[in-house]
Symmetry: C2
Subunit: 204 residues, 2 copies
């Protein structure tokens, strides 16, 4: 089998994580989501606690806006914030994982980190609001009265995080090889469609 590096970016409630998991199972290749944290801790010298803390901060869009306004991104390595250093460690780990062989990585700007690699297939999964709410309530168990806010906040944090680290717009089709609305096709069929894409993708 040719090497397949599949990155999944996804809106909250779109089923993207499940799609990633099923892809990895079906292709029998490693799956990375939370699993990435262990690898980063192992390889970077950061403690897992520090990483979890940095992750939490990364979810706070205000911090990202602030850091962006202060120009943290342009400072040298010595003055980099913890978030920034964590991101670089994550970047290195994603690269290393990709060097090792086929894998599926969900989130974490992996599409950007692996951009330009012939083996990389970057996929964006989205859906209409009503479909995402239904999935979040029924499958993720999110309480109905808080699902809209959680969905909005989560996706806003993802968009800010992505834009801060990559200078690109999260969800913009130009960042992905394939964007799929998960509301009109079964998860297993999306998985098959993505596998079919990776089978015929040109190595260039």
């Amino acid at each position: 089998m040719d090497k397949k590096l599949i990155t999944i970016s996804r809106e909250f409630g779109s089923g993207g994580r499940l799609i990633g998991k099923r892809l990895a199972e079906k292709l029998d290749i490693p799956y990375y989501d939370k699993e990435l944290l262990d690898r980063i801790a192992e390889e970077s010298g950061f403690s897992k606690e520090m990483i979890v803390e940095a992750e939490k901060k990364a979810k706070n869009s205000f911090l990202y806006s602030l850091a962006s306004a202060m120009g943290t991104g342009e400072a040298g390595p010595e003055s980099l914030s913890l978030n920034e250093r964590f991101f670089l460690a994550q970047f290195d780990t994603i690269r290393r994982i990709a060097d090792e062989g086929s894998c599926v990585i969900v989130g974490r700007c992996a599409d950007y980190v692996l951009r330009g690699m012939p083996e990389a297939t970057n996929v964006f999964i989205y859906a209409e609001e009503a479909d995402k709410i239904k999935r979040a309530v029924q499958e993720y168990g999110v309480p109905e009265d808080s699902v809209k806010k959680l969905m909005k906040d989560t996706d806003k944090a993802r968009a800010n995080y992505y834009s801060y680290h990559t200078g690109r717009k999260w969800g913009d089709h130009v960042n992905y090889n394939l964007s799929i609305d998960s509301g009109y096709i079964e998860i297993e069929d999306i998985v098959d469609l993505i596998i079919k894409y990776t089978d015929v993708k040109l190595y260039r």
Copy 2:
């Protein structure tokens, strides 16, 4: 075979029209692009000359901005501009064609006209600039020194036309079931991928 209404929206140079043609051939269903004009002329009472003129104006983004600023879109049917009346006739014809059976329609806001129809599959085809330039020069025969400007102007006109008539953003993934970068996969494979999608699409 289940009814398939496939709309293709595409960036200039992405090969979208060819994909639409091959889809129609492979599925043995009617293909509409320029062919739509004959039908509109036939059904609307507009002469073909008037339609061609309206088409030409539709390509001029300044007219669309002006019409938009003057609020033409909100006036009653009596005061509608020729462009507006032409668009409504086109809208009717697309609906009628869709009622008749499976088909492929390229451009003309068909994704918007057929939105919400269970049989409709809306696809957006795009590519990186270098890939689009290469295709436009080699396959469409556009002179190399004018290709960038033609590409930019054409896509800008398409975006303005779409946004004027639909209130939506052209190329935004939310308008489509599937968005595919045509630069990393052969045309025939894209055609197969879209057919596979329509085969498993949920009717809802």
